[in-house]
Symmetry: C2
Amino acid sequence: MLIQPVKGMRDFYPENWVFQKWLSEKWLKLGAQFGYEEYEGPILEPIELYLEKSSQEIITQQTFTVIDRNKKKLIMRPEMTPTFARLIAQKENELTYPSRWQSWGRFFRYEKPQRGRGRSFYQWNIDLIGSNNILADVEILTLACLSLKCLGITPQEACIKISDRNTLNILLKEKLKVSPSAHKAVFRAIDRIDKIPLDILKDELKKAGLSPNQIDDLLGILNENDPCLFPKIGQLFSYLEQEEIAAYCELDYKIIRGFDYYTGTVFEAWAKTSLKRALFGGGRYDNLTRQIGGKRDLPCIGFAVGDMTIYELLNELNKLPRLETNRVVALVTVFSIETSKASINLANKLRQENIPVELFPEYDKKLEKQLKYANKKRIPYVIIIGPDEIKNNAYILKDLQEYKQEALAYSALVIKLGNFSPDCQITPD
Amino acid sequence: MLIQPVKGMRDFYPENWVFQKWLSEKWLKLGAQFGYEEYEGPILEPIELYLEKSSQEIITQQTFTVIDRNKKKLIMRPEMTPTFARLIAQKENELTYPSRWQSWGRFFRYEKPQRGRGRSFYQWNIDLIGSNNILADVEILTLACLSLKCLGITPQEACIKISDRNTLNILLKEKLKVSPSAHKAVFRAIDRIDKIPLDILKDELKKAGLSPNQIDDLLGILNENDPCLFPKIGQLFSYLEQEEIAAYCELDYKIIRGFDYYTGTVFEAWAKTSLKRALFGGGRYDNLTRQIGGKRDLPCIGFAVGDMTIYELLNELNKLPRLETNRVVALVTVFSIETSKASINLANKLRQENIPVELFPEYDKKLEKQLKYANKKRIPYVIIIGPDEIKNNAYILKDLQEYKQEALAYSALVIKLGNFSPDCQITPD
């Protein structure tokens, strides 16, 4: 019996991995265009890093827990932000602010595996540290829009819904006269607004301490869509009126996000297709580095976007890129044991010229079989080098796409293969 | 109190991560030159995947164990090969052979953290599947040599010590008349030959069932260095007499490797510096896919090389590359709240021209402070855009290295910055 992989974990064969690589390179390149520097953190973190800061649901129900050989309780990271905050807090007096950081890494949540959701996934995390200026919010929202655009996802296919927790705090406190101690419970109820029926929502708001009038007033405002109701949101939206991104941005006062650490601007990307779900989210969190033990005020804003929902969306839109797993230009065949060293030498020389080639690694297989292999692997050229070719210092180059062949000296071979850029095999973006 | 990271785990700040990225790109590019395709596997695997196949020491003493919410015992992968074999076995009837695979991933071992060894490390794994021809062994050994060479490590600084388990099996069985059931114990003793005193080694060989004469004969052969003692090793070394790699290759009959799955050629890279330790190792394992439940004979050969010892070696040799974490060409400054949208627009336009730039994300900081920031971050240029510049359609470009500035129209700015390739900031390899 074949040993089976763990449920919810993912095997990436070359034809799967090439998508992961394409996706991560797209996003990391986008971040680098804006000056974001790459970092990484541990997969294992102490559980204290998440308690009371991250999402309650994730910590109590979805962690993979490791008891190490000293009986210490560790968890496999379910998200990056607490690790990121720890890294920043550790060097809070040495870093140059504003700082821009991004990373691509693996995360683990014990969820029910389903379409677009696994127990192990990748995320791109991108954060701007040390500025509470609205320009920082604008930059992060711009990146959220461009993270869709750079994959070919249009504003007709997905949008960024934007709100502001701070504005909602002020509204609750000053206009609706809701006690600040109840805000957390109110936020948690609003965060589930799309997932639960209206009467259950009202019930949760009542439990949080709101009167029927307060509930009606709150729900009335949550359904508004005029950014100018609140000056801060009005100003933010005036900055978002830029050619590339305006069409992606929508106001939605119901957006709250499930993580307790958010303090200001919050946003979620939503698919407008039949997928109809949040693709990713982010926001401003100005107190997290202090919460985990830092001493400075370090306002932050950022977001994280995972690989799996984006894959589902691109698949649904028929916009998955066609990618080649192998970029070699030619297969160098092996005629016999006697000529095998000449084949090895030729392959090595071509690689030194920066021409990627495979060598057929068996000297006792018929040429026909080697050609069949090249065809099956979609390798564009085959080089034949037998006793005659060695004697004449000319190699036979077979073009497997055009069904033709020619005898070429080494220098001509290099020119011909060097002009065939292996990148041509990848669908251009 | 700041929450502390888990012992032996590693935080990668941008200045650390840039090395990891450089290293992984060097090796993956080398593999791609030979036609190796990238794959990945899960971090969590069932413990059965390793039992009786991997290294005893690792499995009993060094695993991080996870009990999942269904009480199943999982381990965080300490090496790639069993996962790799599982992936191959799962699709053994669909894959095209020979197959060439490589990956870059994270691994976990509960070892005593020390210089060049952590509890979490990265490895490049590279394997050739489906050929037991000697040309496959030659290719993998070539890659082992080039994995050092491509980092600038010379044959004077490190070497590849090579032997063959199969040859040793035949020697034990046919010449020394040692019972096959004792071979595993003999191999385990030989594997520790450099770590234990001679009398303890002899004692272990005695416990394995060898007589004093057998022990003397065995030790005599292990200290030989003539490849022609055995035809198979002689043939292998004749193939390794190639310009780029011959100087790295050494015969060493004492090389065994600690993993039980090896069956043929085995090798270890060793530093010749004061580091004096194995840098990495690999070999042929022809039965592993069957051992984990596969049905076909799939001979494999490959190796894995980690990031930490290589870092230590490069550091000792003073050959660590100098790498920049940030590749932006210019900082776009912000003069005031009124002109901030013009700064944002300019930055976005330049990025669309493929010129990476940072925007200073605050409109209320003095220009002097923004220049200081650019200096500290070693950003080559600063663009100043205030009310006059907007009126005149000309931007001031300050060269922070040459201490000069000029006023440029947008098109001239694009040409100037576009010619300054951000790659210039990276030390060429």
